[in-house]
Amino acid sequence: MAVSTTLTAPSAQPVSSNSPQITATELDASCRWPLLALFGSAVLWLFLGVVLGFINTMKFHVPGFLAECPCFTYGRVHAAQSSALLYGFGLQASLGIGLWLLCRLGKAKLVGAVTILIGTLFWNAAVTLGVCCILGGEASGYDNLQMPGYMGPVLLWSYLMIAVCGILTYHRREERESYPSQWFVIAGLFWFAWIFSVASMVLFCPPTARGVVQASVAWWYSHNLTNIVLGFSGLASIFYFIPKILGRPLHSSYLAGLAFWTLALFGSWGGIPMGAPMPSWIPAMAALGTIFTIIPLIAVAINFCHTTCGQLKSLDKDVTLQFSYIALLFWFISSAQQIVSAFPAVGALTTFTWFTVAQKNLFLFGFFTMASFGAMYYILPRLLVIEPCPKLAKANFWLMLLGVLISYLGLGVGGANQGILLMDPANKFTDVMRATMMPVRVSSLGDLMIIGGILCFLLNFFGMFARRCCACCKAKKEACK
């Protein structure tokens, strides 16, 4: 880092919210209803998702729990849970945050509010139907793409309705200079449309791919969905909120660009475990791409070290900042873990164990959910023009943080132990299985805390909404008098 330049030249005029043409309040007003719809349904799905997840954890304590009912058997609930979390929560939250960022950073009013509302409606209908189908035994069998193939067109179409409005908003921006968050958001919008249509075409439209090509495509899709689409959305909000709330410029747009392009290029290779039944170059390329994501990791690290240096004290002031910092931290840990596990020697130990599950959960809950919560704590009060309850927000933060940590450590340590024990053929599988039950049970304590945290957010959100409605009604009544 010797040559590292600290040329934090003040960049082209900071965009201030009280610029003559259009105020931040007007921008927020333009996206009020579409975003409320997106966020509201996202949070409900999130809650449903973690509750489904908890049902499954219960089955490790009591395998017979809800076993009589085919709809609630472990596998189906597992698939339903991943669909609820990724499609119900993840994509809707990322769309909402993305649209808002595009409005704010481009200083353009949201385009097509009604179209977005209709898109959201159809999207939710499709996901609901999809989850019901999964519980009814119609899961597609592809990880993270479990909703039956015939839901594909509806999902794609409603996604496009929303995404196109986002792109148009970006197109009509007044502020021509782009900020890194905008690249991430735009990339995410294109990315999902592309991977989803490719995967649906190859897997569901006859003539479908044959043999393990399906697995390659499904894994590629699932990796891109989490690491790129959700990852970009989380990074977009972190890149926006940390400098914004600290009131300092981002250290370097070049480093951000480096991170962005290398992540787009290499982060999108992966998800195929070494040793998968494919010619060895396919998993090797996946592993290599994952290992190369060390580049964006370092670039983001340097960028934020310089951006935030010395400002950690202001952490406890702002809940959005807290969430964003922690999300960034968890992004590092989970990406680093992913990189390390991509090395064949480590992968031999960790593939198929709870260790990888720990990493994925950390990415989804520790990074993405935390980053989204941070963003929503900033956006929602502005949409509803009402303050959130600070106590609930605090409880939300700490419950999430502790829950994620406990769950992660439980599964991570248990998974590593499981991998090491399995390496010795003398250890019987069933004994190893029993040995891993303890950490899994510890992690379900963490899951409970996560549920608690999410419940706090849910209460806060709908509490704000209710108070706002009351206030409105009162105002109307007074006006009538």
């Binding site: 395998p63 690249w183 190859v202 043999g211 590629w220 040793g275 198929f352 990888t356 599988f429």
Partner: protein, 242 residues
């Protein structure tokens, strides 16, 4: 040098929408070419082939209709959430050392699978070769209540694949023989597997990747055995109907 660094991808170009779009297009193309198109071109057209050791036999054999129905039950209940169907090579995991398979799995093993459910987590053992180590009656009993065959198993039971009914004039030949460790049924009743359970058991017993192929030659040194450290004793490994 400074000029070079100035040209680093980033700030300047992405100011413009079209550049952003083009760059993204290239990235998306690169990854989908590598993981969608190239595999499709290379292994999308794999066919049956002769097994190395026994030339006249074509492998894999065309699956029977029941096998397919069984695979559908496997898919519907997403057994892949806990079980994998892939054996890793010796240097990438202990699968062969643990006797989970005869050889590592290759693309050709799956050409008739739709969908291919390789699985990503092993809460339970790999099932690529269960057909070589369990017989259908053990599998059925295990499905009905895993704790009947394995102490403290955490695999969920699948009672909805079975039917409890009054014994008719003659007892059903398929009825489960419950071990003494389970609470006995009321007198005059029996547990009979439904069609789904039977086809699932048939599917599982058909799972066996034992033919050596050109791309998966038999290991030269230690010969792996497919007896396992889990359920069935090696003596009862013969699969039925084939």
């Amino acid at each position: 040098m400074l000029c070079l660094l100035q040209g680093e991808e980033g700030g300047l170009q992405v100011k413009y929408g079209p550049f952003l779009f083009l760059g993204l297009l290239c990235c998306m193309a690169a990854s989908s070419l590598t993981f969608v198109l190239a595999p499709q071109m290379q292994i999308g057209g794999l066919e049956q082939t002769n097994s190395v050791a026994d030339l006249p036999v074509m492998y894999p054999s065309q699956p029977a209709g029941v096998t397919h129905q069984g695979a559908e039950v496997y898919r519907a209940n997403n057994c892949a959430a806990c079980h994998t169907l892939q054996i890793r090579p010796r240097n990438l995991g202990p699968d062969l050392q643990r006797g989970l398979g005869f050889r590592y799995s290759v693309a050709r093993d799956y050409i008739f699978d739709k969908p291919v459910m390789l699985g990503l987590q092993r809460v339970g053992p790999d099932l690529s070769n269960v057909g070589a180590r369990m017989n259908p009656s053990t599998i059925l009993l295990h499905l009905y209540n895993p704790r009947a065959t394995v102490d403290h198993s955490i695999m969920p039971p699948y009672p909805f694949l079975f039917e409890k009914r009054k014994i008719g004039r003659v007892a059903s030949p398929d009825a489960l023989v419950l071990p003494a460790t389970l609470p006995p049924l009321e007198k005059g009743y029996e547990i009979v597997p439904r069609k789904e359970a039977l086809s699932l058991a048939y599917y599982l017993t058909s799972l066996r990747q034992s033919s050596y192929l050109f791309e998966a030659p038999p290991p030269q040194k230690a010969k792996p055995v497919a007896t396992t450290d889990t359920n069935a004793p090696a003596a009862t490994t013969n699969s039925p109907a084939k």
